[in-house]
C-alpha cells in the first residue's frame, strides 16, 4: 500500500508532464477551432465583406453569397422556441422544486433527464414523420382560422416550416431550461421561504416573493444557455424547417437557419468560394453561440453559492417616506388606518385561488413537457421494432428503396467512431480535469471557461472543423476524422463532469494524503482519482451517450450514410419509400436504446456509489 510513497521522483514528473500535455492539447484544439473556421471562411469574407451578414441572396451560380436571411431565420426560429420553452420550462422547474409532492418530483426529474439524452436526430425523425403530417392536417389549419392569430399563421399548411422547427427546438432545449432553473430555485435558502410562509403567504406567494427573485440570476443563465443551444441545433431543424430561406411573413412558411443551411449546402458547395461561404455561415453561428453562452456562463457564475444570492438591485423603490410625518403613535402602541389582519382575511380566498391556479398551470406545464417524450418513445418503439430481427441487425444496408438488407455496417461504424472518439477524449478529459483540480490560477480559469464555451459550440461547427483539419488535407473521409470530431465534442463535457467528480471527494481526504508526505499531484492522481472513480465513470458515460447520438460532426467526415446510425437516419428518414423510413425508425430505436442504456448505466453507477457512501 505505501510502496508508492518511496518510489523515485520520475513518475511524478511524468504525471505532471501528462497533465500539462493534455491541457496543452485541449487548449490547442480550442484555438484550432477558432483558427480553422476563421481561415477557411477568409475567402468568403474577402469576397463579400461584412455585407455577408446582411445580404439576403445565396446564389452559387452567380457567386453571390449572403447569410442575412439565414441569420434572420435563426433568430426567428430560436425566438419562437424560447417563447414556448421558457414559460413551460419555468413552470416545470417551479413545479418540481417548489410545488410537487416529493414522491413525484424524483421520477419526473428523471424523465426530463431522459428527454435531454434523446438524440436530436431521433426528435427530428419523429417530428418529420409523425408531427409534421399531424400539424399539416389538424394544427396549422386551426391556427390559421383562429381570429387574432391569422396574420401570424397565414398561408398553406405544409407541415415542415418555421413553426415545426420551433416546436422541435422547444423539445430540444426544454431539459436545459428545466434542469438549470430547477437548480437555481433549489439553491434559494429555506430561510427565505420560511420567512414568507410565516408572514401568511400562500404556496404560490412563497414562490413569487421569496424564491423567484432570489433565483433570478440563475434562471437568466439557464435561459441564455438554452438560447445558445437553440441557435446551434442544426440537424433536427434541417429535417423539419423546409429549407427555403426567405423573410418570414408567416410561421407556417418554410424557412432556413444558419445550421440548417450549413447541413444542406456544405455537401454541394463548390470547392473554393462556395465552400468558404458555407464555413463563413459556421463562423457567424460560432460567434453568435459563443457570445450567448459566455453571457449565460457569466450569469450562472454570478448566481453565487447556495443561500447567498447576489445582492441585486432592490425590487421596488420606496417613495420618499419623509414626506409623511410620523403617523400617530410612537414607539409603543400600533394604531393603523386599516386592519391588516382584516385585509389578509378578506384577500385570502382570492390568494388561495390564485395559488391553486398557478399550481395547476405548473402541473399542466409538466404534462405539456412530458407528452412529447411519451409520444416520441411510443412512435420510435412502435415503428422501429417491426424491422428489428437478427438478420436486420447483421446484414449490410441496401440502397434506399430496395427492400431487404439491414443496418449492420451502421451499427459497427457508429461503434467504431464512438470508440475511437472515446480513446482520444477520455485521457485528455481526465488529465485536464486533474490539472484543474488542484489549481485556482488564471490558467485554470481560462481552461475552465474554454471548456464551458466549447460545450456550447454547435456540433455542426465541430464537424466543419474536423473536415477542415482531417478530411480536406487528406482528400478522403475517415473514421479517424469522425472520431476526432466526436472527441472534440465530448472532451469539454468530460472535463466539466470529471472536475465535478474530483471535487466531490471530501477535502480532508486530500489533506490526509498530503499529511502522509505525498506530493499534491501524486495525491490527486492516486488517492482522489480512486475515491472519485465511480463518479468519473458516470461523467464519462454521460459524455459518451452525448457522442453516440450526434449526427452533425459525422456529416462531413464520414463517406457514406450507411457507416453510422445517425447518418442513416438522416439519409433514409426523409425518403418516400416505406422501406427506407422503416430502416430509419429501426436505427432510431437502436440508437435510443444505446443512448438510454449508457445513461442508465451511468446513473446506476452513481446510485450505487451514493448508496455505498450513505
Amino acid at each position: 500500500m505505501t510502496g508508492w510513497l518511496v518510489r523515485p521522483r520520475r513518475p511524478v514528473r511524468a504525471y505532471s508532464v501528462l497533465c500539462w500535455t493534455a491541457v496543452g492539447l485541449f487548449a490547442a484544439v480550442l484555438a484550432a477551432v477558432a483558427v480553422t473556421i476563421g481561415a477557411e471562411s477568409a475567402r468568403a469574407w474577402a469576397h463579400a465583406g461584412l455585407g455577408f451578414l446582411w445580404s439576403g441572396t445565396w446564389n452559387p451560380a452567380r457567386d453571390h453569397y449572403g447569410g442575412g436571411l439565414l441569420v434572420v431565420g435563426t433568430v426567428v426560429t430560436t425566438g419562437c422556441a424560447m417563447l414556448l420553452a421558457v414559460p413551460i420550462g419555468l413552470g416545470i422547474a417551479v413545479y418540481l422544486a417548489e410545488l410537487s409532492p416529493r414522491w413525484l418530483s424524483a421520477p419526473v426529474s428523471a424523465a426530463i433527464d431522459l428527454l435531454a439524452a434523446v438524440p436530436s436526430i431521433v426528435v427530428g425523425l419523429w417530428a418529420l414523420l409523425v408531427v409534421s403530417p399531424f400539424f399539416a392536417r389538424d394544427v396549422e389549419p386551426t391556427l390559421a382560422r383562429t381570429p387574432g392569430l391569422r396574420s401570424v399563421f397565414a398561408g398553406p399548411a405544409y407541415g415542415p416550416g418555421i413553426l415545426l422547427a420551433a416546436v422541435v427546438l422547444t423539445i430540444m432545449v426544454l431539459p436545459t431550461v428545466v434542469a438549470l432553473s430547477r437548480n437555481a430555485l433549489q439553491a434559494v435558502s429555506g430561510a427565505e421561504r420560511e420567512a414568507a410562509r410565516a408572514l401568511g403567504a400562500t404556496p404560490w406567494q412563497v414562490v413569487r416573493t421569496a424564491v423567484l427573485p432570489a433565483a433570478r440570476p440563475g434562471i437568466a443563465g439557464a435561459v441564455t444557455l438554452a438560447v445558445g443551444r437553440a441557435l446551434g441545433e442544426s440537424i433536427a431543424v434541417a429535417m423539419v424547417i423546409g429549407n427555403r430561406p426567405g423573410l418570414p411573413r408567416s410561421l407556417l412558411q418554410p424557412g432556413a437557419t444558419l445550421g440548417s443551411a450549413i447541413v444542406n449546402q456544405f455537401g454541394e458547395a463548390s470547392p473554393g468560394l462556395g465552400e468558404s461561404s458555407v464555413v463563413a455561415l459556421a463562423a457567424v453561428l460560432l460567434a453568435l453561440t459563443v457570445a450567448v453562452n459566455a453571457a449565460g456562463i457569466g450569469l450562472l457564475g454570478r448566481g453565487g453559492p447556495p443561500g447567498r444570492p447576489a445582492p441585486g438591485p432592490p425590487r421596488r423603490l420606496a417613495e420618499s417616506p419623509g414626506a409623511v410625518g410620523p403617523a400617530g403613535a410612537g414607539p409603543t402602541g400600533l394604531v393603523l388606518l386599516a386592519d391588516p389582519i382584516d385585509a389578509a382575511t378578506r384577500s385570502l380566498p382570492r390568494r388561495r385561488w390564485a395559488s391553486r391556479v398557478m399550481y395547476n398551470l405548473c402541473a399542466a406545464c409538466v404534462i405539456a413537457g412530458a407528452a412529447p417524450l411519451v409520444a416520441l418513445l411510443y412512435y420510435t418503439i412502435a415503428r422501429g421494432h417491426g424491422a428489428l430481427s437478427l438478420g436486420f441487425l447483421t446484414q449490410a444496408p441496401r440502397p434506399a428503396g430496395i427492400p431487404g438488407g439491414g443496418i449492420a455496417t451502421a451499427i459497427s461504424g457508429s461503434a467504431k467512431i464512438v470508440g475511437l472518439g472515446l480513446v482520444m477524449a477520455v485521457p485528455v478529459g481526465l488529465l485536464s480535469a486533474l490539472f484543474l483540480y488542484d489549481r485556482r490560477g488564471k490558467a485554470a480559469g481560462t481552461i475552465r471557461f474554454g471548456a464551458d464555451v466549447l460545450t456550447g459550440v454547435p456540433s455542426i461547427v465541430l464537424g466543419i472543423f474536423a473536415y477542415g483539419v482531417l478530411v480536406r488535407p487528406f482528400h478522403h473521409s475517415s473514421t479517424v476524422a469522425a472520431g476526432f470530431a466526436l472527441a472534440v465534442l465530448m472532451v469539454p463535457i468530460m472535463i466539466g463532469g470529471n472536475e465535478e467528480a474530483l471535487r466531490a471527494v471530501p477535502e480532508d481526504l486530500f489533506e490526509a494524503g498530503l499529511a502522509l508526505g505525498a506530493r499534491r499531484a501524486r495525491v490527486a492522481g492516486r488517492i482522489v482519482v480512486r475515491e472519485a472513480l465511480a463518479r468519473l465513470v458516470t461523467a464519462n458515460l454521460l459524455a459518451a451517450s452525448r457522442g453516440v447520438g450526434e449526427t452533425a460532426p459525422l456529416l462531413f467526415t464520414v463517406a457514406a450514410p450507411s457507416a453510422a446510425l445517425t447518418l442513416l437516419i438522416f439519409d433514409r428518414g426523409p425518403q418516400a419509400f416505406a422501406s427506407a423510413q422503416q430502416t430509419a425508425w429501426a436505427c432510431a430505436l437502436v440508437l435510443l436504446a444505446a443512448v438510454l442504456a449508457l445513461g442508465a448505466t451511468a446513473r446506476a453507477v452513481a446510485w450505487r456509489l451514493t448508496r455505498h457512501q450513505r
Binding site: 421596488r316 409623511v324 394604531v335
Partner: protein, 255 residues
Amino acid sequence: MTAVTLDDVSVTFGAHHAVRHVTLRLQRSRVTALIGPSGCGKTTVLRAINRMHEQSGAIVTGTVRLGDVDIYGPGIAAEHVRSRIGMVFQRPNPFPSMSIFDNTVAGLRLAGIRNKRLLREAAEQALHHAALWDVVKDRLDQPAIRLSGGQQQRLCIARALAVQPEVLLMDEPCSALDPIATAKVEDLISRLVPDVTVVLVTHNMFQATRVSHDVAVFLLDEDRVGELVEAGPIEKVFSSPADPRTRDYLSGHIG
C-alpha cells in the same frame, strides 16, 4: 387572559417523537420564555403554534387554540393562522432581493394591500416599533442585506409586526447576534408587550429573566422525547421550582 392554549400537543417526525403531551397556556400581553436543553423540542412546539410544520412532514396531534379558535380546526387556513401569529427566526432572514422598505411591508403586500400611503405609514410605524426607524429612515430603498446582523433581525421583527399579529413567536432571536445587538433586541422585546403576546425560545436563563414574565421549562424524558416539566410566572419558577428536575436543570445553568 389566555392568548394561546396548547392542549396535549405532541409532534412526531415520521416514527420519531420530538415532543409529547404539552399542555400550556400562554398569557395575553406577556412574554413567555420556553427554555430547556437543546433538542428538547422548543422549536418544534413553537412551530406547532403557527402551523409551520406543515411542509416539513411533521404530524401535530392535540389542539392548539388562538383565543377559542382551534387553529388546526376544519376550515381554518394555515395562511390565516400565520398572519395572526407572526414568527421571527434564529438567523435573520430578510428577503435579500428586496429593499428595507419592501421587506418591512412584505407581509402587507402579501395580504393584498397596495395603497402606497398605507404601506408607507405601516412601514414607518413598524420600524419605529422595532427601534429601527432612526437608523434606516434615510436609506429605505437600499437592499436589506446591507444592514448589520442585529439590524437585520430588528428588520425581521418590524416585518412581522407590520402585519399586526396578536402573537409573535421568536426562536432564539439573539443567538446569531453579538452582545450589543442582543441587548437592543432584548430591550425591544420587553417593549413589545402589551400590544403583542410574545413567545420566546431561549437557551439563555439570564435573557429569560431579563425579558420574560412567564417561563415554560422543557426537558427530555427517559425516552429522550421532549416534555413540558413546569410552567408559571418566572419569579416563582426560578425561585421555588415545583419539580425537582426543574431545580436540577436550573441549578446547572444559573448556579
